[in-house]
């Protein structure tokens, strides 16, 4: 049973077309939810950590939000360089390990 589900699997946007990626989780006792960006042939790069429902974090065109069941990664006016796979991961209290979702592959066309 998947503990972390990301949707959509793939998303294609035009430059400037804002959208959101979803990460839903079923773990109890969430210790932290992490967003990473992965470019082809590279390792994941850390973006945000969210710890409690209602928390929001922003970085350039990206904004991450968290509820008790899911997190959204909002992308405002994306540029082609935002094209990447975005991974969500959760850490359950007491587990000391991250469980990753399968990612959303974002393509932003110029």
């Amino acid at each position: 049973e998947d503990q972390v589900t990301q949707s959509p699997e793939a998303l294609r946007l035009q430059e400037g077309e804002s959208s959101s990626l979803n990460c839903s989780y079923t773990v109890s006792g969430l210790r932290g939810l992490f967003w990473y960006r992965q470019d082809p042939g590279k390792g994941p790069e850390f973006l945000f950590t969210l710890y409690s429902a209602g928390e929001e974090k922003e970085k350039e065109r990206l904004k991450a939000t968290l509820t008790k069941k899911e997190s959204f990664l909002h992308i405002t006016a994306p540029k082609p360089e935002d094209s990447a796979t975005y991974l969500c991961a959760v850490e359950q209290g007491g587990s000391e390990k991250l469980v990753f979702g399968k990612g959303t592959k974002l393509t932003v066309n110029p």
């Binding site: 992490f34 390792g43 850390f46 000391e96 991250l98 990753f100």
Partner: protein, 112 residues
């Protein structure tokens, strides 16, 4: 300047062989990890070491043996390689077990 470095970047070998992947981090982190990313891009933890002590050992065949000679290094040795071992293996480090991970750029292992 590379924070987490893995060698080799590509590894092509035949079934039954034994191979090693090396990882070094220069961030001064206490915790290091090995993750496996399969063909579906699913990233799963294999092992975690904190201050050279094994703290996470997922359900991984015992053909896989991690070794941490010191806090800055975590190597992965694989015996009797099988076709299903083909994947990208990522090393990562973090200051503490609940901190964000810093990943290396991966080792693509192909078993023929």
């Amino acid at each position: 300047d590379t924070a987490v470095s893995q060698t080799p970047k590509y590894l092509v070998t035949q079934m039954g062989n034994d191979k090693s992947i090396k990882c070094e981090q220069n961030l001064g982190h206490d915790t290091m990890y090995w993750y496996k990313q399969d063909s579906k891009k699913f990233l799963k933890i294999m092992f975690s070491y904190n201050n050279k002590e094994l703290i996470i050992n997922e359900t991984v065949p015992n053909r896989f043996s991690p070794k941490s000679p010191d806090k800055a290094h975590l190597n992965l040795h694989i015996n009797s390689l099988e076709l299903g071992d083909s994947a990208v293996y990522f090393c990562a480090s973090s200051p503490r077990v609940d901190s964000p991970l810093h990943f290396g750029n991966g080792t693509r292992l192909t078993v023929t």
